[in-house]
Symmetry: C2
Subunit: 216 residues, 2 copies
DNA sequence: CGCATTATTGATCGTCTTCAAGAGTCGTGG
DNA sequence: CCACGACTCTTGAAGACGATCAATAATGCG
């Protein structure tokens, strides 16, 4: 891929963007996981969304934009400057779909934090990650590489590490998930989704694909 | 204002858009409050964001978009079709800023639900509403018309009505707010914001104004 | 091998939910 | 004009869910 020629890397833990700072060029994640986070002055923090392969960082249409969240690499990362949307109409459309999907995930996250129990939050998040990773072809045999520590899942679900640990144990004992050796499998995603009243994320009528497909 | 010639109205409680249904024309709220909500099959629901005067409903750049949330009128509403962004570059910029602000509020909402206590959530939300209503000139002497029932604040903060009621009482007793006759006053917004570690919402370097200013 | 990070489990505590009931307000129709 | 029902607000009591505190394994990395 042309854009990947000038790919860059970032070590786990590095901040790619800092809340309140100006946004320069939009970036595209090629490989690895990142998170958008909000921090409070007293040290509390909340993961606002996860960024996976094919996701964009800091695409804005207005002049002199400021970042509204900090973006941090959760794993070692490969990324590049996002190709300008003006190069092709299909890329422009892909960006629009990507943006819409991103918004949909934010709304889901809000509903998750506002109205689901701890167990449901965790299960729902793991299902969303399955769905998203499937879109970029990172799921094999229903399993995906899970690079996150339970501590990070706590930052995302608004829970404590201790309680996340208990909920993971619970999901394991219920045979809902298998999580070992850095890989996570949801045994019956359909039925788990049904149990949570979870609908698949759709932002278009058609079968539009997100940005990542253009680079697959 | 030209666009307001073909203004329409909606009664409180009416759905302007339904989750999963196709989005036709984008709408612009002229007067009144609406909410974007997510519902679960078992009856649980979560308010994902509030829509105030000057806010857009269903502006998308991709083809055949589906709504990712239900939009419901919280008060009687006046609205119109959103003028096409192609009519003027400044309108286009205003839409971009509006979109960025909307995203910022979603992120704040996530952090609020994930990491704040009940009292903090309520106070933080009331401060955000103050900030937003100020932008559209709906604040006088530090007070704004508060058309929401405590029940609705519960839907937004992820709490129960009962607990919202107790938190309102607490904020009242602490002299943080005065809420009577449908008007809400935050006695010392600065100090309350500081207490919460709340930063003002900024999405640009400059002093760009949201869409509503174009219609003020 | 030593240190830092991550996972795990127990015990106790507190915030928020749930359940229940009563009072106040408002619009509507008889 | 008043009675009624729907909604909103309010408060109490009990219980549950998740937080906090604390300690001990694993695991992995330099």
């Amino acid at each position: 891929m042309a854009a990947m020629k000038n790919a860059r890397t970032a070590k786990r833990g590095r901040e790619l963007l800092s809340e309140g700072s100006p946004i320069k060029a939009p970036l595209l994640i090629i490989e690895g996981w990142a998170a958008r986070i909000r921090t409070f002055e007293d040290g509390r923090m909340q993961i606002v969304s996860f960024l996976l392969a094919g996701d964009l960082i800091g695409h804005c249409d207005h002049p002199r934009p400021l970042s509204v969240s900090t973006v941090m690499a959760l794993t070692d990362l490969r990324y590049c400057e996002a190709p300008s949307p003006s190069v092709s109409p299909s890329l422009q459309a892909a960006y629009a779909v990507s943006r819409a999907l991103e918004e949909a995930y934010l709304l889901s996250h809000i509903a998750r934090l506002g109205r689901l129990t701890a167990e449901e939050r965790l299960a729902d998040l793991l299902l969303e990650l399955l769905e998203r990773l499937e879109l970029c072809g990172l799921v094999e045999d229903g399993s995906y590489a899970m690079p996150l520590a339970q501590h990070t899942l706590a930052d995302a679900t608004g829970l404590t590490v201790v309680h996340v640990n208990r909920m993971v144990r619970q999901l394991r004992h219920q045979q809902d998930i298998v999580w070992q050796d850095g890989y996570l499998t949801i045994n019956d995603p359909q039925s788990l989704a049904r149990k949570l009243g979870r609908r698949p994320t759709r932002v278009t009528d058609t079968l539009e694909e997100p940005v990542s497909r253009l680079f697959a």
